[in-house]
Symmetry: C2
Amino acid sequence: MYASKYHINTLKEAPAEAEIKSHQLMTRAGMIRKVAGGIYSYMPLGLRVLRKIEAVVREEMNRAGAIELLMPVVQPAELWVESGRWEQYGAELLRMKDRHQRDFVLQPTSEEVITDIARNEIHSWRQLPLNFYHIQTKFRDERRPRFGLMRGREFTMKDAYSFDRDEASAQASYDTMYDAYMRIFQRLGLEFRAVAADTGAIGGSRSHEFQVIADTGEDLIVYNPQSQYAANIELAAAPCLIAQRAAPTAELVKAATPAAPKCEIVAEQLGRPLADTVKSIVLATEDADAAKPATIWLLLLRGDHDLNEVKTGKLPGFENGYRFATETEIQDTFGCVPGYLGPISPPGPVNIIADHTVANMSDFICGANQEGFHYTGVNWGRDLPEPQSADLRNVVAGDPDPQGGRLAIQRGIEVGHVFFLGDKYSRALGATFLETDGKPAMLQMGCYGIGISRIAAAAIEQNHDDKGIVWPRAIAPFEVVICPMGWHKSETVRNAAQALYDQLSAQGVEVMLDDRDTRPGIMFADWELIGVPLRITIGDRGLKDNVVEIQTRRQPEADKVDVAQAAAVALQRLEAL
Amino acid sequence: MYASKYHINTLKEAPAEAEIKSHQLMTRAGMIRKVAGGIYSYMPLGLRVLRKIEAVVREEMNRAGAIELLMPVVQPAELWVESGRWEQYGAELLRMKDRHQRDFVLQPTSEEVITDIARNEIHSWRQLPLNFYHIQTKFRDERRPRFGLMRGREFTMKDAYSFDRDEASAQASYDTMYDAYMRIFQRLGLEFRAVAADTGAIGGSRSHEFQVIADTGEDLIVYNPQSQYAANIELAAAPCLIAQRAAPTAELVKAATPAAPKCEIVAEQLGRPLADTVKSIVLATEDADAAKPATIWLLLLRGDHDLNEVKTGKLPGFENGYRFATETEIQDTFGCVPGYLGPISPPGPVNIIADHTVANMSDFICGANQEGFHYTGVNWGRDLPEPQSADLRNVVAGDPDPQGGRLAIQRGIEVGHVFFLGDKYSRALGATFLETDGKPAMLQMGCYGIGISRIAAAAIEQNHDDKGIVWPRAIAPFEVVICPMGWHKSETVRNAAQALYDQLSAQGVEVMLDDRDTRPGIMFADWELIGVPLRITIGDRGLKDNVVEIQTRRQPEADKVDVAQAAAVALQRLEAL
């Protein structure tokens, strides 16, 4: 491709609303242009990146035996009513009416349509297993779309759906997809982790997220550098940090802690480590009978630990959701304002659950259920009953892994998710097949998503510097850019640049030749911003000595290379990237 | 691909609602499945066809220098308000509100978004010409979606938009696209015509439709088999069929024609040819001042001719549209009921326009403005004033072409349209660039559409037989199907089939190997329905004599071919298709 016949329009400034690097850089590099909040046009350079990601995903899905089809963007409400999601899905589901006032949705995902296809197309166990996928435009009406492609409203996603006879076969389909995802993200050239993930309301134990490692990621990944273990912090088991509870050594004392509604202040006032304090979190669960009062729960965490909301949601009694208790409920139960609550003799009825670590603490500090006072020297069994305990907290870096070593935490961007669905949708839509015994059985389903457009953004979050984007070779819009110094003035330069362009193109390399009449500084800055992995600079001065300059995007300085060897060296460098 | 690992699900019966062959056959072949009215899932076989069409279109667009980008499906209303189409576009424009009650549309086309891009991206004449295109999902909320992919609501379209400095350059861009379209439809293997088309409200003379020839087409194409001339009947000039008006030979007579409100009945009652009669069509145009009465027009056509509504809309005085006159208006103007109206002395004010042929008729028959009566022997100049004349009628087959020869008519399916837009959108959205003199000038635009999904349907309308689809090789889902007789029983057959599969695949041929455990009759019927261009049948009986059977989809009988030559012969046959 010749730059003069292409559309390159870089910007000095990113829009003020662009908060993260990928949004800033894709806009500045001219890869995306905003059409409305969370809705973008992919400009030519950006679309090339998208298509390359799609191609890798498609190849690996096909290799894994998945079959591509294409389901529509606009879907009839009827199917969503059947699955129950017409009611359950929140405002992110964009609903609309056609000219005949019939209800439709813009698809955020295609479980309903694929299950409808399955119930019409799959009749017999002989047809199974089957795995259908499509790469399609999706829409989620985010309340506050931002971060460019990272959290857009209209986006491109690959979603696959497997259909199996039974759970064992479904597990094999799941594993096949897991392996395909591993290959996909390896081929894309991204540093990533497959991470055990929460299965949410559907249950089951099979769910993995594929997280691109980046400091700017929204997800926290718990992993063990010495093992294969990795899990989303939502799911990662937090170990008890105290192997055995020590015997009491201190008396129970009610200490004045004026204006100390937080553990940090209490610890400071009392001159004790934060790890000696216990924080009280009061939650409420509603009874199915709305007339009955809510059940009040007191959850106890060490002062330096944070509540894990996903784990909390899985506690017995929390099946139908929970909320923070109201000030009135707290007053009724503890006779005290928040900030000074504790497990010792609360006046009202309350279920107390201690985090595993708290359950093994001794001589600890907690609220005294009296404003301005905390107890010190609190000991289980002596000052209050032995607690019920559970895993309530988020892992923190340095926690020991029960399997050995210590846990670390890093941030990630979720770009893929594999999920065992069971018969949730097949049951709702009546998608059965005939088993060998001639009797109908429910299809076992799995679903497997990859955020195509999100990968582009995540790749940038992981790979950029002060000058701009540093694309992995596999998804760079062009692999090589040739920058002739004086294309319009020097026939020698023009011939050398053209020859190199022809040689590399003949090898299947995607080359951009910048034949624009621009100054070298501007030309270089453009391609560093755009992030092309390899640059070859050709000028009269070098050609006098038969050399051109070759520089990978991460190299600080260019290498001088004999012009006759330039194509071969460029190919080697590309291969090494 | 192996059939056992693919999804093939043919149906014996087409759905009752499928009125046309392409809809019936794509459904029966398992290529599409209905999700809602006018909304389909492309099943694996159907998607392969779609992707092949896309690939040809993309290659030729790129070759023609157009640059691919991707504009969104969901577009903000603001841009449509700016262009005026938010008001002008009818109910086919699906409008919706997001969660913040902001207005959006599902794009039926992207003039607004591309012009918005152009006004932000194009600053200087140095950047021009530019041609951007995308292949994207579109939505038109048809009142009565039917005919499968032929008139769907959600569909795939390639639309390109050119930007030029001036009309001369825009004409060159138009010609480049015209040439690209010629190559595209040639490569797709379709019989087609580029047809001069009406330019509608935008005016100008540059517009061509690309029509796939098919008896089931909705469009009528006028062409001259002896020349390059072809035009949509909406536009095709209809010649005057009478070179010179003959002198009167008959007296003006008022003849009783009871219960004869149509020319056919009048001609029969009077024992005269239909071509001697003149039909009266009464139209009305509204005055800009709504208080004023409508202007009444009497249009005169030979009894065997039909009114051309597009030509009528271009008559002076018809700029703001027209309608048929009401019965009251007709009574007020002619003092008579419809069916007996004529141009001789109507009591009320009326503008009379005769078709060119009518203007040269003599001794003709027309209504007498009296129920049950017609005049015979009517002659211009003698019985009524010389008429104003215009081209009002549709061409009929056999009309002489003023350039020589005679005109013929065939039916076509519009699959592409190239169109010069001028500055309609650039002016509305203020899309200017700086000319060499530093002054802003309006961008000159062209737009160029191809109905990707519609091509699949049109190809079938043109290429099918009693057994099913007959795909042109270029867009067939698979090029060759190998049908082993006894894959599961005979190792000899299995080895021969596998060897042939490997040989052809290595040559880049897209081969399907039908390894299903089905009876030959069912297997053959499936592939004839699906329309694979070449079938190779391999059985133990043939292999004893070292032969396999090769049969193109249109061949009534298979050829026996030496097994060692089979791959080479198959390739030759494919090339010859």
